[in-house]
Amino acid sequence: MTKRHPLRALLRQDLQRAWQHGGQSLLPLIFLFAVIAMIPLGLGPGPNLLAMIAPGMIWVAALLASLLALEGVFRPDLDDGTLEQWWVDDQPVLALICIRLGSHWLISALPIIVATPIAGEMLYLPAEALGLLMLTLLIGTPILSLIGALAAALTIQARQGSALLGLLIFPLTVPVLIFATGAVSAHLDGLTARPYVLLLISLFVLAATLVPLAIKKALQLNLE
């Protein structure tokens, strides 16, 4: 990591590593499709029922899929000492955390958003809801990444940390889930989705301003 562009170097390194591990980086996406495929098997292939629950199911599947990649957000860097160097070397830690979150989102969430049309087709998602669903995923998944990364930072040295992750993340993501699926169902009911989308955006702004600080604190406490 060169001293002059630590941020750019980190982003490049993260993306390169994800590219090298190809299949592993796509695990959340594959998991999403596995969950989506289980739904008709569990509920029956009736198009009406599936179309009705499709937006919520895709969101729940995305939420579950976002859990998968969290293990790798900070753990490898803690194990090989990179994390400690962030502080020792007087790096802009907060900015580095934000970059790490950004690259994590690009790798784990963006493929899911891009693949939403296919997942929607599998569940007979009404065509007029697709755009809005993708928009809510675009605003909502960064919040999931933020909360998930915070939980990952808190459990990084915990026993059975990955089992705890779900328990920590689920309650905190309730508002995201409610507003995102609320937007889509309001739209399908012929109402305006605007207030939901605006609330979702404000949640994102709130999370993006506060959560990195909490992550920094959590990582710092881990290094003590």
Partner: protein, 251 residues
């Protein structure tokens, strides 16, 4: 006066002094709890008239409502203790914040269970996805998450610090969760259910509620100090002050 208060606050950070402080306070707190519960329960069960619609079954509210209030108040107290723990790194505050979580979870559970018992004959269902019920359920999960995180560390202090950060994240998030859940149900099914609040309550029904609420506050304080004292003893069992205190029992 201020200096003496400050000194007392700092002194409580020392485990032996905290232990003695808790030791002297606990019997008093339990006695007050006992008196409050006795008066409150007697009034609630025998003095207050039955409701004109619900008959006697409404009386469970005298357990349900104080438990619900305490479930929420516990989180607030835990958050204040977590701030003290993170800012001043006082170990007894860490321990008190962490032992508060199971108590809060307990009150949340009591609130949910008594609500379900009341709801079965009144609403005809044990559970409804009503805003308040859902908020309480999520609060329970948050408590469990805090307990789980604390328990997942071999180093108690490390676990307490991590869980304290989570407590503070919850402080920001709980109002948002409550608001979003409110919106979620009112939009989908309308407020078909009106929990009767104490504000619209008949004044004759109020005194037992006050007695019970105060009793539950004392009960919480007693349990908090007692649990903190026990946790302190368990963690410090090899330290000098513990050995001096109960040395004869261990040897």
């Amino acid at each position: 006066m201020w200096k003496r208060l400050k000194l007392a606050f700092h002194k409580l950070g020392s485990p032996p002094i905290f232990y003695r402080f808790a030791q002297t306070l606990i019997p008093w707190l339990w006695s007050l709890t006992g008196v409050g519960l006795a008066v409150g329960l007697y009034q609630a069960l025998y003095v207050v008239p039955p409701d004109y619609q619900q008959g006697d079954s409404y009386r469970i509210l005298y357990v349900h409502v104080p438990a619900a209030w305490q479930a929420m108040a516990t989180y607030l107290i835990m958050a204040i203790l977590a701030i003290i723990a993170l800012v001043w790194r006082i170990r007894t505050a860490e321990i008190m914040a962490m032992v508060a979580a199971p108590i809060g979870a307990g009150f949340t559970l009591i609130c949910l269970v008594t609500g379900a018992i009341w709801g079965e004959p009144m609403w005809g269902t044990w559970w409804a996805w009503d805003a308040r019920l859902t908020s309480m359920l999520i609060l329970l999960f948050i408590y469990l998450g805090i307990m789980g995180l604390y328990a997942a560390f071999d180093d108690h202090r490390q676990g307490a610090k991590m869980a304290s950060v989570l407590v503070l994240v919850g402080v920001v998030n709980i109002p948002i969760i409550h608001f979003s859940v409110d919106w979620w149900t009112t939009l989908h099914q309308g407020s078909t259910i009106n929990l009767f609040g104490p504000s619209s309550m008949d004044p004759t029904m109020l005194p037992p509620l006050i007695w019970m609420t105060v009793a539950v506050k004392f009960m919480f304080a007693a349990m908090l100090l007692q649990r903190a004292r026990n946790e302190l003893l368990a963690q410090d069992q090899r330290k000098q002050w513990t050995k001096r205190l109960i040395g004869d029992l261990i040897e």
